[in-house]
């Protein structure tokens, strides 16, 4: 009986994992394959997957065309970097305050922060556009960063607050007894042990800002087009350049994937950290 049970358990775990992997990786693999095939192979019926047709033509065309993927990538990089950096600085301070200082109404503040997340983007985008165009923030990096911060900060605050609460109070008290000033306590104790969750949250914020499409397409015009918009523009009125579009998508994914790989250890630690209390 236990042998059969163990077999079944393993079978279901593996079956689940493989299904999940296919669902998650399928579109990615398809995007890579498509980006490497010429348009003629893609538009034939059935699709011609002959490896002999593989070409990097799409990638060359993407860089050669004037559609602005490169400037889109640069814009996305600027916006995502600032969004995650500013989000981390402000968010960690807010989270620390909410977790550690005895503020009146802190639970209400937290609920209000969460409540801002409950409006669908479509509801606020028109008034937001009006406000931004009157203040001259449409089609600026600054404008988009502010908008992204408004929905990334609440998530950052909630994640980091959970972490800071899991740090035993005695650690900070011990540092105080050892003669550390509040700043030294932060610098030598709180900051080093908070690095994993900070990295994890930072990468998360970066990815969110990098992938955002809806607000970007409405709040930008020419100068601040992000990568996601540049990619979408390969779909034109008369034809969609699938090969180039997906080549751009693959290129645009590289920074995010690289980031995730570099900080993999931190991200995993960061998400486990909150779960086990010291």
């Amino acid at each position: 009986m236990p042998i059969i049970q163990r077999f079944l358990t393993r079978f279901f775990i593996r079956f689940g994992l493989i299904t999940f992997m296919l669902l998650a990786l399928g579109p990615v693999i398809w995007a890579v394959v498509t980006s490497l095939l010429p348009l003629s192979s893609l538009t034939s019926h059935p699709i011609d997957l002959n490896p002999a047709n593989v070409t990097v033509e799409n990638y060359i065309l993407v860089f050669a065309s004037s559609r602005g993927l490169v400037s889109g990538l640069i814009n996305s990089l600027i916006i995502a970097t600032f969004t995650s950096a500013v989000g981390l600085v402000i968010g960690s301070m807010a989270a620390y305050a909410l977790a550690r200082l005895n503020m009146p109404n802190s639970s209400r503040i937290l609920m209000m922060i969460l409540a801002t997340q409950m409006f669908p983007g479509i509801v606020i985008v028109i008034p937001l556009f009006l406000v931004m165009s009157r203040t001259g923030l449409v089609d600026t990096h600054f404008g988009l960063i502010i908008v992204y911060l408004s929905f990334i900060l609440p998530i950052v605050i909630w994640i980091l607050k959970g972490f800071f609460e899991s740090v035993p109070m005695e650690l900070e008290r011990a540092a105080a007894v050892d003669g550390a000033s509040p700043f030294q306590t932060f610098r030598y104790i709180v900051l080093p042990i908070s690095l994993p969750p900070l990295f994890a949250t930072g990468v998360f914020a970066f990815i969110e800002a990098w992938n955002e499409f809806f607000f970007a397409i409405i709040l930008t015009r020419i100068h601040v087009k992000t990568a996601s918009i540049a990619i979408a523009e390969f779909s034109g009125q008369y034809q969609t350049l699938y090969g180039q579009m997906l080549a751009s998508a693959v290129l645009a994914s590289i920074p995010v994937v690289a980031l995730a790989i570099i900080f993999r250890r931190f991200i995993l630690e960061g998400f486990v950290e909150g779960a086990i209390k010291a």
Partner: protein, 354 residues
Amino acid sequence: MATLELININKKFGDFTAVNDINLRVEEGEFVTLLGPSGCGKSTLLNMTAGLEDVTSGEIHINGEKVNHLGPFERDVAMVFQNYALYPHMTVEENIGFSLRLRKRPKNEIQDKVRKVAEMLELDKFMHRLPRELSGGQQQRVAIGRAVIREPSIFLFDEPFSNLDAALRLKTRGEIKELHQRLGVTSIFVTHDQEEALSLSDRIAVLRLGQLEQFGTPEDVYSRPASKYVARFIGTPQMDIFAGSFVNADGLHFQIGEAGIPLPVSFKIPDTAVDVGIRAEFVTLGSKGFDSAIRLVQPVGPFTYVTVDWQGGCVTARVNGVSHMKPKETIKVEIDPEGLLFFDRITEKRMDLQ
């Protein structure tokens, strides 16, 4: 080494009074335990002494100087926390040396001192390990090392044994006592374990609901408890308490149910109603006294605690060695009048009557 004086200390959290008008003086080099159940204010009192919490009113003096306005470091106290509070990202060596590094001491000096402390606490083999790679007992010793290296004038211990298993707890208890004998530093120790308090302390402060119930030597609190509360809190097994009255027929007796315990002639009879407390070592089971049914037999090694039904309640006797008595058997119970403790039934304070 230092003296510590707590003068009219009060601490309120909103409407709740955690510490109520406590006065306490700890002499130089003394080992004092704050003892009480959870919620009695003992940890709050310790935190206020450390400077981690403000007092609502009252004064804290160290070496005769008021220190209310000083932070923990300026008070020159070191503290060992209940969960050790070791810095998880630092090695043993870095944990112990942290306070010296903060003070920018020269590297050689820090290394020397850390090594000495580590050797004393048998941690020298683990210098480069992180706290999570150590056993509970080793972590405990790192926490002590971090306090010792400061050479503070007062040590504060906040239930430092509560995360250790029973055997390790006894061992560490011995180590702390030895450490105190060696260094002679004034120490304040918080615990809810009366046995720990009795075995470690020069004097014990028993706290109840934020108030000081009794402050005395281990012998005082055990043999001459100030109140019923202290009497029941200190000692294993717990003291048995009975209501009764004085009867003067055929000599003076204290009458509990049908049993009359003879009292000496010199005995002073009080005007108020009294209860009597009986410790297990003053109860004899055998051929003299009143017939009683055995209820519970608990061997603990050198003794066996035998609880019997007696005069409408239960009384526990301490029998030497392993007893072969069985529940439901009948045995005679005799009480030694020497061991009786009398308490005012209303105020619950102990009365000196013998």
